[in-house]
């Protein structure tokens, strides 16, 4: 209920962003219902133009692009969401532990993260995925771990600020354990920056998977995903055909939507009223 109240006072951009995200979510969930064809079925010629039969035309081997776009939303968004959740779970718990316990635990975790962050993410991911092989679970774990280093840094910094507050000291004096301190005293107060970061990270992960797929190491064909679809159809550009621009536009669309929401949330959380 509080959410709806907030929504009524929200700016236009937030409502637009929410609509954009809801549209994407609906497409992802209802893909099998809406899609006119199946995900991998070849239904026409290569790179057919838009028509009433094929709303957005066909791709490089004659599959319906609209259908692929719907299923792509499913795969890409779901995987990006799972990865972001994982990276936050790992990053926040490690960051909070480091901040509340301090000492050598903090030292070891922080140096480890520094080492991981010293290597460019895309190259590191390419190397690791090349070694361990390529499947969706492995992809999720690798990207989540790499991404959690960023979350770790933020949550540690935020928790450090909260940790010195007197209400945390009061809880310590009461004899509360580390877990309780993290869960009840620090986490609720760290939420605003972390949720904002969640929105941003989600977009980054999304683009990162798209980039990996584009390089051929992300989600493997024939599974549809937006990044992969841009790559597969990139040749069409030379013939002046729009096909690869549709999945690219879909990526941009969702990213913009999520960012609108994040901006709004930051605005609300920072207590700025207008």
């Amino acid at each position: 209920m509080a959410f709806f109240k907030l929504l009524r006072k929200s700016p236009l951009t937030a409502r637009v962003g929410l609509a954009m995200i809801l549209l994407n979510a609906a497409a992802a969930i209802l893909a099998p219902v809406i899609a006119p064809y199946s995900e991998t079925e070849v239904v026409g010629d290569v790179w057919m133009p838009m028509s009433s039969e094929h709303l957005l035309g066909t791709d490089h081997i004659g599959r319906d692009l609209f259908t692929r776009l719907l299923y792509g939303a499913r795969n890409t968004i779901a995987i990006a969401f799972v990865i972001t959740m994982f990276s936050f779970a790992i990053g926040i718990s490690c960051g909070f532990f480091a901040a509340t316990l301090g000492g050598w635990i903090d030292l070891i975790l922080s140096r480890l993260v520094d080492i991981l962050m010293a290597i460019p993410v895309l190259i590191f991911a390419l190397v690791v995925l090349a070694i361990v092989g390529n499947s969706i679970p492995k992809l999720v774990v690798v990207i989540a771990l790499l991404d959690s280093t960023r979350v770790y840094r933020l949550s540690r910094a935020v928790a450090m600020d909260i940790e010195v507050m007197e209400y945390v000291e009061a809880a310590r004096l009461r004899g509360e354990g580390t877990w309780w301190l993290m869960r009840h005293e620090i986490l609720p107060n760290a939420m605003p920056p972390l949720v904002a970061e969640f929105g941003l990270r989600f977009c980054f992960v999304f683009l990162f998977i798209a980039a990996l797929s584009f390089l051929g190491l992300g989600i493997q064909p024939p599974t549809a995903d937006w990044g992969g679809m841009v790559r597969e159809n990139s040749g069409a550009i030379t013939f002046g055909i729009f096909t690869p621009l549709w999945p690219a536009a879909a990526i941009a669309f969702l990213t913009v939507g999520v960012n609108f929401i994040v901006d709004w949330f930051l605005h609300v959380a920072s207590g700025l009223k207008d």
Partner: protein
């Protein structure tokens, strides 16, 4: 005499929650040349807002809705920014509460002094420098020739506040607005600043508006006093008349000296000692001792006041007792049993028996927890209470601190400062402690609110027999509620004993200084004290700056 400043029917509004709300309701104010006007009231009375309005200025989110502000024949309300800019700093100056926050830490004092006169084209820099030395010496700053070349962090708080008064004086303004210039200072430092302000306003015949919540302070300086409440005038009269014969109930309340303590049986018995601190020395760095050989006893049902200035080690002692800072040397005993030095190795029972209440209730309560959880958690943690039983106990505790049961659903952000402090007390009481350590619990509160809190704590002590270790720098509080007094200076205890022994002469010389620095309602007090000190040759610096 001519009227220098004349404010008529001033209305000021503030913008909150999407609408303009009146915060000052039609105030009239006149100020003559060389006159000092005291504005007094609690927070939210609108005194700072009125003080700033005298310069034709309002804080962000406020506006002057109607009225007139005539300064030396010029209308400031609705005049253009340029006119106002020319007047501000040169003809009307402002001295803020926290000098430490108002100085730029990256520039030397004298550069900041010269800024206004040079910018307004009144003096060349060299001239301003010479001028600064003159003002510094008039403000009784030590080494006036050189002190201007120091950075703000290289001088003490009281000196910095005087340097700020000097800055305000730079252009020889007609009016200075002092906004609580001594509130953040210790009593012994406050007296220096008061003397300096009194001195310089007399020498230059400067008019001043002096804003404060402390009647005793304003009594030393003001010729005339206006008492404000909720943006309305309560009472206005000559300083001497208002102190001798307050007309309104509210003024009388502000004036009334706190007398809360009833006589107790203070015969000392070893059996009653619940906390004993033995030969404790502690340090944060390992080399510089913050506490040196402290011995202290607290008896059941007693209030021990720990007095001293900032930096004397009072709060550090509390940290040692609670186990937050393990001492380098010495032990802490609770009911005859030695406590482990570190918090981590103490058992739950000894943690329960000692609770703490903090100075700033804003930071001592988790802003994301409701009152139910704040008070309920110690109940669940120490006594394993659940559900209905816990809920009932929380309501009982709310009743004890005189808050109604609907407060249980509130977040700390929805409470006033005094209510928050009450919640902190309830949280401490929930653990059924034998000793509560109170770290400056009233210093962030308004005078009347603070008094209610003290009264409540006194009642709870009578009812529950809990002991208090009361850390404070406010001697009025000490006089009001303590049974025993411990005076600390630079990490050592210089005097301790039962209240009437400590307060009655002969004193240790530091206790003497501390006691004589507490402003009294008598308008001649400041002159009297300074005169006496001159005669005796007591120098405050000996104690205050090491």
């Amino acid at each position: 005499m001519t009227e220098l400043l004349k404010i008529k029917n001033l209305h000021i509004e503030g913008f909150t929650d999407g609408k303009w709300i009146k915060i000052v309701h039609g105030i009239d104010l006149t100020l003559e040349r060389g006159e000092i006007l005291g504005l007094i009231g609690e927070s939210g009375a609108g005194k700072s807002t009125i003080g700033l309005a005298a310069m034709g200025y309002t804080r962000l989110g406020c506006r002057i809705s109607s009225g007139s502000i005539v300064f030396d024949g010029m209308e400031l309300f609705e005049s253009d920014e340029k006119t106002k800019k020319n007047i501000r700093g040169t003809r009307i100056a402002y001295v803020a509460q926290s000098a430490a926050a108002s100085f730029n830490p990256a520039h030397r004092l004298i550069k900041q002094y010269s800024e206004t006169p040079v910018q307004h084209g009144l003096m060349k820099f060299a001239e301003a420098e010479k001028n600064a030395v003159d003002i510094y010496s008039r403000l009784l700053l030590p080494d006036p020739e050189k002190i201007g070349y120091r950075y703000p962090h290289q001088v003490s708080g009281g000196q910095l506040q005087r340097a700020m008064v000097a800055m305000a004086m730079a252009c020889r303004p007609d009016i200075i607005v002092f906004d609580e210039p001594t509130t953040a200072l210790d009593v012994t430092t406050q007296i220096e600043v008061l003397a300096a302000i009194k001195n310089i306003t007399r020498q230059f015949n400067t008019a001043a508006i002096y804003i404060t919540h402390d009647l005793a302070v304003v009594a030393q300086l003001a010729d005339r006093i206006m008492v404000l409440r909720y943006g309305n005038l309560v009472e206005e009269n000559d300083a001497r008349k208002i102190l001798a014969n307050p007309k309104k109930e509210y003024t009388r309340k502000l004036l009334s000296v706190r007398t809360l303590n009833e006589d107790k049986d203070l015969s000392a018995s070893e059996k009653d000692v619940i906390l004993k601190v033995e030969d404790v020395s502690a340090s944060y760095t390992g080399t510089e001792m913050v506490l040196k050989n402290i011995d202290l006893k607290i008896r059941r049902g007693r209030t021990v006041a720990l007095v001293g200035e900032s930096g004397s080690g009072k709060s550090t002692l509390a940290r040692v007792v609670t186990g937050l800072l393990p001492p380098l040397k010495g032990q802490v005993f609770y009911e005859g049993k030695q406590l482990p030095p570190a918090l981590r190795s103490r058992d739950r029972e000894s943690l329960r028996a000692m609770q703490m209440i903090y100075q700033m209730p804003d930071t001592a309560l988790n802003p994301r927890q409701k009152v139910r959880k704040i008070i309920g958690r110690p109940l669940a943690f120490y006594f394993g209470m659940k559900g209905k039983e816990r809920e009932n106990r929380v309501l009982e505790l709310l009743d004890m601190i005189e808050l109604s049961s609907n407060y249980i659903e509130r977040y700390p952000g929805e409470l006033s400062g005094g209510e928050k402090q009450r919640i902190c007390i309830a949280r401490a009481l929930a653990a059924k402690p034998n000793l509560i350590i109170c770290d400056e619990v009233t210093s962030a509160l308004d005078q009347l609110v603070a008094e209610e809190i003290l009264k409540l704590m006194q009642e709870l002590q009578n009812e529950l027999g809990v002991s208090y270790l009361f850390i404070t720098h406010d001697l009025a509080t000490v006089k009001a509620i303590s049974d025993e007094i411990v005076v600390m200076l630079k990490g050592r205890i210089v005097e301790q004993g039962i209240k009437k022994d400590v307060l009655a002469p002969p004193h240790h010389e530091y206790t003497e200084l501390l006691l004589s620095s507490v402003p009294e309602m008598d308008p001649d007090w400041l002159d009297g004290v300074l005169e006496m000190r001159k005669r005796k040759g007591i120098k405050m610096e000996e104690f205050v700056q090491s």
